[in-house]
C-alpha cells in the first residue's frame, strides 16, 4: 500500500476481498486459487511485438497471477468480438479500447466501472493524468477507462534519403516545413531522390490524413448537439484535392494498403511515411536509418489526428473480486511501465512517466511529444472512433481518390450521404 493512500477504506475492501477469495478457494479447490487476468488487445505489427515483451516481464514478476493475453485483428473484428463477449457474459477481465470508442460502446451495459479505490491502492490517481484525458473516461460520474497513451499521426523520414534530398538541418533532423507549397516542395525533393515515391501512405483508408488536414483547416464536423452534419465543403474538398494531387503527381502510390505502406518505407521506395507513430519497432528491427517528427502544419493550425488507448473492464456476468483486484493491479503496472510501451512510439498518458528522463531519452519516440495537446480525436458519435463505421465510410468513399476512380467531389458527396445515413439511424446505445 502506498504511504499517502487513505488507510481505512481499502482495508474493509481487503477483508471482503479476502473472504470472497477464501470462498472461491474452498469452492474451486487449490488449482483455481490464482487470480486470473485475461487481457484482450488489438495490437499488431510492432506494437504487438512490444506488448509481448512487456507482458513477458509482467508474467515474470507476477507468478501469483494466471495471466493470458490475446491479440485480435485490429478494428471492427476486435470491437465486434469484444461487444459479443460482453453480451455473452464470458468476457475477459480486461481489454484495450480506443478512447474514441468508449461512448459508442454502451459503457453502462457493456463495461463494468473501474473501482477507483482499487486503482488508488495500486498507486494510480486522477492527478497522474492530463485533466482533459481523464475527463473523457468518466461517464455518468463513473470511471470506465484508464488511459494508457496518446497516438498522433506523425511523419517518419528516412535519414539517408532525406539527407541526399537536402532536407535535414545541421542537427540531422528534418527541417520543419509549414504551408502547402513548402510541403509539396519537400515531397518533390524526396521523390527525385528515391526515383519512385516521396511518401508511403495507406490509400485504402485515408481517414487519418484527411482528418489531420481538415483539422488543420479548422473544419467543423457535427453541430455541438451532435445531431447535424455541418461539414465545411470547401475545406473538406481542399484537403481531398491535396490527397488527389499527391497521388496524381506520383508523390504517393496510387494504390497501397497498410502492408504496402510499411513495405515501401522499409525498402526505400518512399523516403517519408505518413502514419501513426506505432511502427517504430518495425523499422528499428529492420535497422532502417530513420527518425520521426510531428506531421507538418500544412494549413492554418497544428492539429494531428490521433486517439488514446485505454484499459476497460468488459462486462462479466459473474465478476470475481480477486480477479478484479489483480486486473486493476495489472493496469497500474502497465501504466507505471509505460516507458517501455512508449518505446513502441506512443506518448504515455501517465504523467510521471512522461516527465521521466528515461522517456525523454527515447529517440525518436520523444521527438513528437509536443503534439500531445493537439491530438485531434475523431468526431463524437456512436458510429465514430478508431475503426468504427464512420472511418469505414470514409475509407470506402475516399480510397478511390488516389487511384483516380473517384473525384474528390464525388467522394465527398458519397461520404456525406453515408454519414447522414448513420446520423439518421436510431442509436442502438
Amino acid at each position: 500500500m502506498l504511504p499517502n493512500s487513505p488507510p481505512f477504506r481499502p482495508r474493509r475492501r481487503a477483508v471482503l476481498g479476502g473472504m470472497l477469495g477464501a470462498l472461491a478457494l474452498t469452492g474451486c479447490g487449490t488449482l483455481g486459487s490464482k487470480p486470473k487476468v485475461r487481457e484482450w488487445n488489438l495490437f499488431g505489427g510492432g506494437d504487438g511485438a512490444r506488448l509481448l515483451q512487456i507482458h513477458d516481464q509482467y508474467v515474470a514478476e507476477h507468478p501469483d497471477v494466471a495471466f493470458q493475453a490475446h491479440t485480435l485483428a485490429w478494428g471492427p473484428p476486435f470491437y465486434t468480438k469484444l461487444a459479443m463477449s460482453a453480451a455473452g457474459g464470458r468476457a475477459p477481465e480486461v481489454a484495450t479500447m480506443h478512447m474514441s470508442r468508449l461512448k459508442g460502446f454502451s459503457p453502462t451495459t457493456m463495461l463494468d466501472p473501474i473501482p477507483v479505490d482499487l486503482l488508488e491502492n495500486a498507486g494510480v490517481r486522477q492527478s497522474d493524468f492530463l485533466p482533459a484525458t481523464w475527463d473523457r473516461c468518466v461517464i455518468d460520474g463513473k470511471l470506465y477507462a484508464v488511459p494508457l497513451d496518446q497516438h498522433p499521426f506523425v511523419l517518419y523520414y528516412n535519414l539517408e534519403i532525406c539527407k541526399k534530398a537536402g532536407l535535414l538541418g545541421p542537427d540531422n533532423k528534418i527541417k520543419p516545413v509549414m504551408g502547402v507549397t513548402p510541403f509539396l516542395d519537400m515531397l518533390r525533393a524526396v521523390k527525385e531522390t528515391t526515383g519512385k515515391y516521396a511518401v508511403s501512405v495507406d490509400t485504402t483508408s485515408p481517414w487519418r490524413l484527411w482528418w489531420t488536414l481538415y483539422g488543420q483547416l479548422e473544419g467543423e464536423f457535427f453541430s455541438p448537439d451532435g445531431k447535424e452534419l455541418v461539414i465545411d465543403d470547401a475545406k473538406a474538398l481542399e484537403a481531398l484535392d491535396l490527397i488527389a494531387k499527391l497521388a496524381s503527381e506520383g508523390l504517393t502510390p496510387r494504390s497501397a494498403n497498410y502492408a504496402a505502406l510499411v513495405a515501401q518505407f522499409s525498402n526505400g521506395e518512399a523516403g517519408l511515411s505518413f502514419n501513426g507513430e506505432w511502427e517504430v519497432t518495425t523499422y528499428q528491427t529492420a535497422k532502417l536509418p530513420f527518425s520521426m517528427a510531428p506531421f507538418p502544419v500544412v494549413y492554418d493550425v497544428p492539429k494531428f489526428q490521433g486517439d488514446s488507448h485505454t484499459f476497460v473492464l468488459p462486462h462479466q456476468a459473474h465478476r470475481n473480486a480477486d480477479d478484479t483486484k489483480a486486473t486493476i493491479e495489472y493496469i497500474a503496472w502497465m501504466l507505471k511501465h509505460s516507458v517501455e510501451w512508449a518505446a513502441g512510439g506512443h506518448i504515455p498518458a501517465y504523467q510521471p512517466v512522461v516527465k521521466s528522463q528515461e522517456y525523454l531519452d527515447l529517440k525518436p519516440q520523444a521527438e513528437y511529444r509536443s503534439v500531445a495537446p493537439n491530438v485531434f480525436y475523431d468526431p463524437d458519435a456512436w458510429f465514430s472512433g478508431s475503426g468504427a463505421q464512420l472511418e469505414n465510410e470514409s475509407a470506402a468513399a475516399f480510397s478511390g481518390i488516389a487511384t483516380g476512380q473517384a473525384t474528390p467531389k464525388s467522394a465527398l458527396a458519397q461520404f456525406k450521404a453515408a454519414t447522414q445515413k448513420l446520423l439518421d439511424t436510431p442509436s442502438p446505445v
Partner: protein
C-alpha cells in the same frame, strides 16, 4: 396387453426425439425468435427492446446498403456458378482414369476443398498482394502493369470468384466423377462397335447422360453461392467501397458490429425468403425436367 400397444403406437417417437429436440431448439426457436425480434429495436448492448411495429421492415426497403449487398451476392452467384460447373465437368472428364495418374489428378483437383476458408484466403491474399505477390510478380515479369486486385473496385469480385473456383470446384468435380463412373461401360463398348469415335462418344453419350447431374449441380451451386460470406469477409472485408460486401456480411455488421439485433433479424428474413424462392423454383424446374427425362 396395454403396454405393447402403447409402445407400438408411440415408441417410434423415441427414435426421432433426440433429433427433434435439437431441431426445435436450434432451428425452430431461432426462426421464431428472429421473426419476433424483427419487430423490435433490440440492441446487442442490452439497452433497448421496444416494439417498433413494421419500422425495421420499412427501413430495410429504403436502405441502399441492403440492396447493394444483395446485388453483390447475386453478382457473385452469377459470376461463380458457370465456371464452377463447367470446370468441374472438364476436370471429371480428365480425371476419370485408372492408376497413379488418376489418383494424383483426383487429389490435386479436390485437395483445395478440404482446406478451411481462412487457410484459403490467407494464401490468396498473399498471392494477390501488390509488390511481392505471385500474380503481380508474374504480371510484372511478363511486362504488364500491376493490379491491386483486392483494392480495386472492378477487380475485387473477380479475384474472389477465382479464389472460390479454385477452392470449391472440387466438390462439383466429385459429383460429376461419381456420375461418370456410374455410366455402364457397355454403353461405350456398343458405341465403339458402331464405330463412334471419342468425340462422338463424348457429345452423343457422355454429356447427355450427365444432364441430370448437371441440373443437380446447378441447383446446389446456386444456393451455395448465394450464401457467400467467408471468403469475402476474410479477403476484402466487403471492400473496396463495399463493392464486394454480401448480404450475410451486412446482416453480421448490422447485428453485431452496430448492435442492431432487431434490424439484422429483419434483413435475415428478407434473405431467407430469397433463398427459399430460388431453391423451390429450382427444385420444381429440376424435378420437372427429371420426370420428363425419365
Amino acid at each position: 396387453m396395454q403396454r405393447p400397444d402403447w409402445k407400438q403406437r408411440w415408441g417410434g417417437l423415441f427414435f426421432v426425439a433426440p433429433f427433434l429436440l435439437l431441431f426445435a431448439l436450434f432451428m425452430l426457436w431461432p426462426i421464431a425468435s428472429g421473426f419476433w425480434n424483427s419487430f423490435f429495436n433490440t440492441s446487442l448492448a442490452g439497452v433497448k427492446h421496444e416494439f417498433l411495429g413494421l419500422q425495421n421492415w420499412r427501413d430495410l426497403f429504403g436502405d441502399p446498403a441492403v440492396w447493394s449487398s444483395l446485388k453483390n451476392t447475386l453478382v457473385f452467384t452469377a459470376m461463380s456458378t458457370p465456371p464452377l460447373v463447367i470446370i468441374a465437368l472438364i476436370m471429371a472428364l480428365l480425371a476419370n482414369r485408372k492408376g497413379l495418374l488418376g489418383w494424383l489428378l483426383r487429389f490435386s483437383y479436390f485437395a483445395p476443398f478440404v482446406l478451411p476458408a481462412t487457410v484459403v484466403t490467407l494464401i490468396w491474399v498473399w498471392i494477390y498482394q501488390p509488390g511481392f505477390g505471385l500474380v503481380n510478380g508474374l504480371l510484372t515479369a511478363g511486362g504488364f502493369a500491376e493490379i491491386d486486385w483486392l483494392n480495386t473496385e472492378n477487380r475485387a469480385m473477380l479475384a474472389v470468384v477465382i479464389t472460390t473456383v479454385w477452392w470449391t470446384v472440387g466438390f462439383n468435380f466429385l459429383l460429376y466423377l461419381a456420375a461418370l463412373q456410374g455410366i455402364p461401360t457397355q454403353v461405350y463398348e456398343a458405341a465403339a462397335i458402331d464405330g463412334a469415335n471419342g468425340r462422338q462418344q463424348l457429345f452423343r453419350i457422355t454429356l447427355p447422360l450427365l444432364s441430370r447431374t448437371t441440373g443437380l449441380i446447378v441447383v446446389l451451386q446456386l444456393v451455395a453461392s448465394l450464401k457467400i460470406f467467408d471468403q469475402i469477409y476474410l479477403m476484402t472485408n466487403g471492400g473496396p467501397n463495399y463493392a464486394t460486401r454480401p448480404i450475410i456480411q451486412y446482416i453480421y455488421e448490422s447485428g453485431f458490429t452496430s448492435y442492431r439485433i432487431g434490424y439484422a433479424s429483419a434483413i435475415s428474413y428478407l434473405f431467407f425468403a430469397i433463398i427459399v424462392i430460388v431453391a423451390v423454383a429450382q427444385f420444381k424446374l429440376f424435378s420437372g425436367r427429371g420426370e420428363a427425362a425419365a
